[in-house]
């Protein structure tokens, strides 16, 4: 890249080919064109937006508890985001996840209330339904070669239909005399209640893991001009400062405010992240999505990998339904239908939040959370909640367009 500096130009044609640019703009330019900055530009833009919110709305927005409540309530959406993420990496679309979640919400409540199954069996059955649904999708797409949109649209219809057949089209909520839902699962002081917090020691462990992850992530993005040892020190410094700032701003409330649902989400996220970045399966999954033919010829069993991706997606979707049941304690028709769009939005945001074009697990959770916070801030600021979907759509389009524009001058 050639630095053209107008300030040294003047009228004379300078034969000297190397004008010395002022050091500061050059440093800034270098930073702006670094891969690390490009990957984080959307993330930074979101933070800037929240800073604006903080000034505008003050404490009515900047409460740790309130924002954690958003995460808690949206855990099913974020789980669905992870569900579609896996299939998206494999180059497939799974449109059936929201319907799967609706089905398992009904089953998680109904198999206990109506059929009085032991509750652990209910959970296992719901996850099993997720496996079967995933296998069905995989069978249609891989064996019968049905287009992935059509196949998952159809199975989505089937899952949704089955849930309404099971519930006879009405709401399902436990009443007096029904076999009771266990108190640890739903209701006050349960898995699903925001008021029920994890012990602070667990929260501290989570924070320590997050800090460690952030450190590894920063360290692996070493710019060329730093030596490995020096950069490790700088990375540690950056992460330490960021952690300190977060604790001061109020993330300290995280320790007291983390509910079991949030913990579950983070544990699932960690597991999925390990699977798709640290294990053979993840490499095969990425290869299958990037170029199926090349992957097959390189010895990857692409068909099997794709079916497995659908199964993982199905299980995560089933889990989202179970969490939904825990949060709400009842099931109503179409309970998760509106979640499909934000789930895909979260997965797509992951390609621009702290990433340049890749689908990532942390990006999905962060992106999905940011999406909620943006609309929540507007609602706190007085916008009718019915605008929610509009805001979601706008944020997705703007965020992706924004980072595309920023990436363009790379080449």
């Amino acid at each position: 890249m050639r630095n053209i500096d107008p300030s040294t130009g003047g009228a004379a044609t300078a034969p000297d080919p190397a004008p010395v640019p002022p050091p500061e703009p050059a440093a800034i330019r270098r930073m702006l064109s670094s891969d690390g900055f490009r990957a984080s530009v959307t993330f930074i833009a979101f933070l800037a937006l929240f800073a604006v919110y903080a000034v505008w709305l003050g404490d009515s927005f900047m409460t740790t508890d309130g924002r954690l409540l958003d995460v808690h309530q949206n855990a099913p959406v974020l789980l669905l985001g992870l569900a579609v993420l896996v299939t998206l990496i494999a180059g497939q679309f799974d449109l059936s996840v929201a319907s799967m979640a609706t089905l398992t919400t009904f089953l998680a409540i109904g198999l206990k209330v109506n059929q009085d199954w032991p509750f652990l069996l209910v959970i296992v059955a719901c996850l099993g339904i997720g496996v079967i649904g995933g296998l069905l999708n995989g069978f249609l797409v891989v064996r019968l070669r049905v287009n992935t949109f059509i196949a998952t649209l159809a199975t989505g219809g089937i899952f949704l239909g089955l849930s309404s057949v099971y519930s006879k089209g009405t709401q399902l909520s436990p009443t007096e005399g029904d076999p009771p839902i266990p108190g640890w699962f739903s209701g006050p002081d349960s898995l699903g209640a925001f008021g029920n917090k994890v012990p602070s020691v667990v929260a501290w462990i989570v924070i320590a893991l997050l800090v460690l992850w952030a450190f590894t992530a920063v360290r692996s993005r070493r710019p060329e001009r730093f030596a490995e040892g020096a950069w490790a020190g700088i990375a540690a410094g950056i992460v330490a400062v960021a952690t300190a700032v977060l604790l001061v701003v109020g993330a300290g409330g995280f320790v007291e405010g983390m509910s079991w649902t949030i913990l579950l989400l983070l544990v699932v996220g960690l597991g999925l992240w390990t699977l798709i970045t640290q294990m053979t399966y993840g490499r095969h999954l990425h290869a299958t999505g990037a170029n199926p033919e090349a992957a097959r010829l390189a010895g990857v069993r692409t068909e099997r990998v794709t079916v497995q991706a659908f199964v993982i997606g199905g299980v995560l979707a089933a889990l989202a339904g179970i969490v939904l049941a825990a949060n709400q304690g009842s099931a109503s028709p179409d309970v998760a239908a509106g979640y499909l769009l934000p789930a895909f939005a979260a997965a797509f945001l992951s390609t621009v939040v702290l990433s340049s074009g890749r689908f990532t697990v942390p990006g999905t959770i962060i992106g999905g959370t940011f999406l909620v916070w943006v609309s929540q801030g507007l609602i706190v600021g007085g916008l009718e909640f019915t605008w929610n979907e509009v805001v979601n759509g706008v944020v997705l389009a703007v965020a992706v367009a924004f980072s595309t524009v920023f990436r363009k001058d790379g080449r």
């Binding site: 390990t274 053979t280 990425h286 290869a287 990037a290 170029n291 010829l297």
Partner: protein, 478 residues
């Protein structure tokens, strides 16, 4: 004149890596220029700057005396890559009309007759005798390329930039294409052709330009240059890595794969055995089912009939024939492209990957095969064709199988790399591996094969022992 290309002091860097160090090149109307040079020398970058893919370069570009950012988006300049931009499901005439103003009969109704006549005229320009209603998918790769050329000429292209378009074609198709290009220069058009095939360049080019390490090191008329002279030009600037010496005779060991009447795709029924410690060569024309035989031997194709027998210990690795489509994962790093076939090597307890060791091993291979640029974290898609080939080769090496199935191992690679690859195949053989080389380039077989045969209509002919074979003999044999 109106279609002169004038390149002055062209420089280009990616990050801190300089790829072009000031190229000066003037090309006049009616010239047929052959652009040559080793893989990663900067040929592709130069072409991509002309095509407007890379901006942000230093120096200037003039076309017909006017300063322009690139030659893209003009009707009088056309680019031919390996990816032709044709739609297989549509007919020739519909492909030719794509992006053109419609020829109308009345209002929105199209004038199909006039469109067909215009298309037939365009085909006549390139000498392709085919009905304009033929679906493009039914054409041979060479004919497809001709359709792409016809489309450009019909739009008024006076300058054609042809980037390795012949490397995936059979010799006959390639000949038809370059003859047709030659005809256009006779009518005053300019052709710039990038190719590694010396014989092609010598046959049609008026002028030969050699790029090396981002510099223009040779620019001379083709007249008076023969094959050996051109090789000398190309390697004069490099350390000579020619292995030389006699090859040891093959000592075939146990059977690694046996095909018994196997049928798949266009191949078969095929009987074929490859032993450890020998190099078996197959050649044939495009469409002969040649590569299907390779897929059968590798195990990526399952036989519809017959059997493929492989001892349980016989692991295989494949270098696929169509690098651009089947080779690798463009957005992934070079390292990931290298290690995808051999991941169990780096498996730690709990099935986690030892990513540190993996990265180091990838770096080793990048160094050993001299992949450029040599940063294993760069995207595979940024590499030039020959360097992609090296990565795909490296992937097979990392897998460390008993049987290597190498399709078109030297397609699109420069003279130097070609020698390296031959030496590598020799090494594999003396290391006790079995190698099946499947190629449409006879030169490969003469250089490395212990015994060889020709695939015609999906069947493998009788085997010939390499001793006194030459490329000419084999060519005659087909």
């Amino acid at each position: 004149m109106a279609h002169d290309i004038d390149i002055r002091g062209l420089t280009k860097s990616f990050g801190s890596h300089a790829v072009l160090h000031g190229i000066d090149l003037r090309i006049g109307e009616g010239e047929f220029v052959g652009l040559m040079g080793p893989n990663g020398a900067g040929k592709s970058t130069l072409i991509k700057i002309l095509a407007g893919v890379h901006g942000n370069y230093g120096g200037e570009l003039r076309f017909g005396g006017e300063r322009v950012p690139s030659l893209a988006g003009r009707d009088d300049v056309g680019f031919i890559h390996q990816d032709l931009g044709l739609v297989d499901d549509m007919s020739i005439v519909d492909n030719l009309r794509l992006g053109e103003a419609p020829l109308r009969r009345l209002g929105p109704l199209l004038h199909h007759g006039r469109e067909a006549r215009a298309a037939a005229d365009a085909l006549a320009l390139v000498g392709l005798e085919r009905s304009v209603d033929t679906p493009v998918g039914a054409l041979s790769p060479g004919e497809k390329t001709l359709v792409a050329v016809a489309r450009l000429l019909a739009r008024g292209a006076r300058v054609l930039v042809v980037d390795e378009a012949t490397s995936t074609l059979s010799p006959a198709d390639a000949q038809q294409l370059i003859d047709s290009l030659k005809r256009t220069t006779a009518e005053g058009a300019t052709v710039i052709m990038v190719s590694h095939k010396l014989s092609e360049i010598l046959r049609v080019c008026d002028r030969i330009v050699v790029v090396l390490d981002g510099r223009l090191v040779e620019d001379r008329p083709a007249e008076g240059l023969d094959h050996d002279g051109l090789v000398e030009l190309l390697v004069a600037h490099e350390v000579d890595g020619h292995p030389g010496g006699e090859r040891e005779p093959a000592r075939p060991g146990e059977e690694l794969v046996r095909l018994e009447g196997a049928v798949a795709g266009r191949a078969g029924p095929v009987d074929l055995v490859v032993h450890a410690g020998e190099v078996v060569g197959l050649t044939g024309l495009a469409g002969s089912g040649l590569h299907d035989v390779a897929f059968l031997a590798h195990g990526s194709a399952v036989p519809d009939r017959g059997r493929v027998v492989r001892p349980p210990s016989a692991t295989t690795a494949l270098v696929p024939p169509y690098r651009e489509r089947q080779g690798g994962f463009d957005e992934h790093s070079i390292a990931r492209n290298l290690t995808i076939s051999a991941l169990p090597r780096w498996r730690a307890p709990w099935r986690l990957l030892r990513t540190g060791v993996e990265r180091r091993d990838a770096r080793d291979v990048v160094g050993r095969l001299d992949v450029r640029p040599g940063d294993p974290e760069r995207a595979y898609g940024d590499l030039s064709g020959g360097n992609k080939q090296k990565v795909v080769f490296g992937r097979a090496l990392l897998r460390d199988p008993r049987l290597y199935v190498l399709c078109e191992p030297t397609r699109g690679v420069d003279v130097q790399t070609r020698r390296e690859i031959y030496r590598l195949i020799d090494e594999l053989r003396s290391g006790g591996a079995g190698v099946l080389v499947v190629t449409s380039d006879f030169e490969d077989l003469v250089a490395v094969a212990d015994r060889m045969s020709v695939v015609v209509d999906g069947r493998v002919g009788p085997f010939l022992v390499a001793d006194d074979m030459s490329a000419k003999d084999l060519e005659a044999f087909i």
